[in-house]
Amino acid sequence: MVEDEVNLLVIVVDVNPIWWGQQAQREPQFTLSKCLDAVMVMGNSHMAMTRTNRLAVIASHCQDSHFLYPSKSWRTGDSGGDDASSSGDGKYELLAVANNLIAEEIRNVMSRSKGNSTDTLLAGSLAKALCCILSMETASSFVIYDVIKAAEDCARQYMNFMNVIFAAQKQNILIDACVLDSESGLLQQACDITGGLYLKIPQRVALAQYLLWVFLPDSEQRSQLVLPPPAHVDYRAACFCHRNLIEIGYVCSVCLSIFCNFSPICTTCETAFKIQLPQMVKPKKKKLKQTM
């Protein structure tokens, strides 16, 4: 083990209150607190593996995203902050501090939450996470983002989401996705482009088990494990005129908009296109054979 290798794990949890509220009624064994317990178990395991491992947890809300851990007061130093919260059961102090901070912050976030959209604002949380991780100035060898997603995708986020994914790819950051409810095309693309893992959990109650077995190993160890196969990603784009998914289409060379049929003018940028006309062939004069 190299001594100064720093593995950073960032867990982004989707805490959309509407989805979780409905979930509590559908399946009372698996609520937001159980989900966060599983997240804390994973975070603790990650930090306990090596002394130099670091953790960050972000809660992604319908309007905003908050850092659950580390909180603002922690930024001054590694071990600054709460000495008073040493746990009574002999737990490693860093883990106890982390758990308490996460629990406290999530209570703050949920109590002051407002908003009634059913979509998740993942692009924003990932963008903030990228800026924050960059500013931490550690020579992190591996950074893995683990996204736990509950509610549905927001289609308006497509452009921003793709920008965030490409920025992450440039920084060599892996994005994993752990999906609780509906399949997410955006996250499938994110995992495919950055090289992470995508998994839709068959049984939500066993979330902790899936997190530990599938998502905890870092990228070097993953090549030696038998992990769920990569999902079949549907990369078909939607045409701009009908919003149908097409396999073969026409792309404007100026504004890159996609059409399903050829048209002489691009509707987005109003460029006139050069049309390849078939060449005019002069009819050859044929000598009429004289029939005798």
């Binding site: 793709m162 920025a167 693309q189 990369y235 097409i246 073969i248």
Partner: protein, 377 residues
């Protein structure tokens, strides 16, 4: 040569009273001024944008890297060749264009990066030849369709060029003259009929042949100051250039591939691959032009990668940090604002620090706080 601008003849004109730029502070140190200059150059790249100009999004870019004896010079650590082949050049590979760099033309960046990494070990001998490299590039570029922009980027480290066009044994000065007249004829060729834009990055000093070449074809010529300047110059080439009015616009027929897993493996082939939707031929990498039916195969992320050029992010408003009321935290990284200026996004009014602003404009291309307010509204 007669229509050269007056200013450039007086090369001293660019160096008048340079000492006035640097100012010492009370303790006699120049550090503050140097930081200020670096900071301004960083900001310049962010602010400069072309506005409502049609950009050449599909580009065929030919990168020519000088591998002659002068690349072994140690003024860029560890030597010029290694320094060139490192990350800055690889950044260009991530943009959507066809890059040819002593491998066959391909749109896949991984092949180019692998070839570059292998090339670090090449031994640099001999002299470079501008004529030969331009010839080779033109041979390939002239077959490219008219709606793409054709560009050549030359990274030239030596001060001379050795070409088959001159057959006389003359001194260096005369060689340059012969080449100059030849090149002027060929640049007319280049710029008028073929619309090729040649840009050169010089690693040692300014060379007149290069200046003329780039001026005639509409490209840019820069000489690097140090490694970070080198990286900045390469990043300038990542942005798509404005197109000339003579390039055609057309609709290009493209297909999205279908990915399927094969049940069998053959020696030398891999499991699965990308199938052309029209003729079902199998390819292992994308983007590619199908050799059977001629359809260009791409996937949506390849197009999405270039969208940020079409919808560029506005530059943030800079203001001194004293004007900020309330708590001094950067909204993106949650860190304290310790620099002397802060940046405000014009649409959502959130405050960012210098590093976040640079990161947002260079890599992220979208404001993290605008994303939140977009969806909430």
């Amino acid at each position: 040569m007669d229509e050269e601008p007056e200013r450039a003849k007086r090369w001293e004109g660019g160096y008048e009273r340079t000492w006035e730029v640097l100012k010492e502070d009370e303790s006699g140190s120049l550090k503050a001024t140097v930081e200020e200059i670096l900071y301004q150059s960083k900001r310049k790249r962010v602010i400069e944008s072309h506005g409502q100009v049609r950009l050449g999004m599909m580009r065929h870019l030919f990168v020519v890297i000088d591998c002659s004896r002068s690349m072994e010079d140690q003024d860029l650590k560890p030597n010029r060749l290694t320094s060139t082949l490192k990350l800055p050049v690889c950044d260009i590979m991530h943009i959507q264009c066809k890059v040819i760099c002593f491998v066959s033309p391909s749109g896949n960046p991984k092949k180019h990066i692998a070839a570059l990494k292998k090339a670090v070990d090449t031994v640099c001998v001999g002299e470079p030849s501008l004529y030969n490299s331009l010839n080779l590039a033109i041979q390939t570029l002239k077959h490219m369709p008219g709606h793409t922009s054709r560009e050549i980027l030359i990274i030239l480290s030596s001060l001379t060029t050795c070409d088959p066009a001159n057959i006389y044994e003359m001194t260096k000065v005369n060689i340059m003259y012969m080449l100059l007249t030849f090149l002027i004829c060929s640049t007319d060729n280049l710029s008028c009929s073929l619309n090729v834009r040649v840009s050169i990055i010089g690693l040692s000093a300014e060379v007149r042949v290069c200046t003329v070449l780039t001026r005639e074809t509409g490209g840019s010529y820069h000489v690097i100051l140090d490694e970070s300047h080198f990286k900045e110059l390469l990043t300038l080439h990542v942005k798509p250039p404005p197109t000339s009015s003579s390039s055609e616009c057309s609709l290009i027929r493209m297909g999205q591939y279908r990915l399927e897993n094969c049940d069998f493996t053959l020696v030398g082939l891999s499991l699965g691959g990308y199938f052309c939707p029209q003729c079902h031929s199998n390819y292992t990498e994308l983007p590619v032009e199908c050799k059977v039916c001629g359809l260009t195969l791409v996937s949506a992320p390849h197009l999405a990668r270039s969208f940020h050029h079409l919808f560029p992010l506005e530059a943030f408003i800079e203001s001194p940090v004293e004007e900020l009321q309330g708590n001094g935290f950067c909204q993106a990284c949650q860190g304290e604002l310790k620099d002397k200026s802060i940046f405000t996004c014009p649409s959502c009014r959130s405050v960012f620090c210098v590093e976040c602003d640079l990161f947002i404009h260079d890599s992220l291309h979208c404001c993290p706080c605008c994303i939140h307010s977009q969806t909430a509204s």
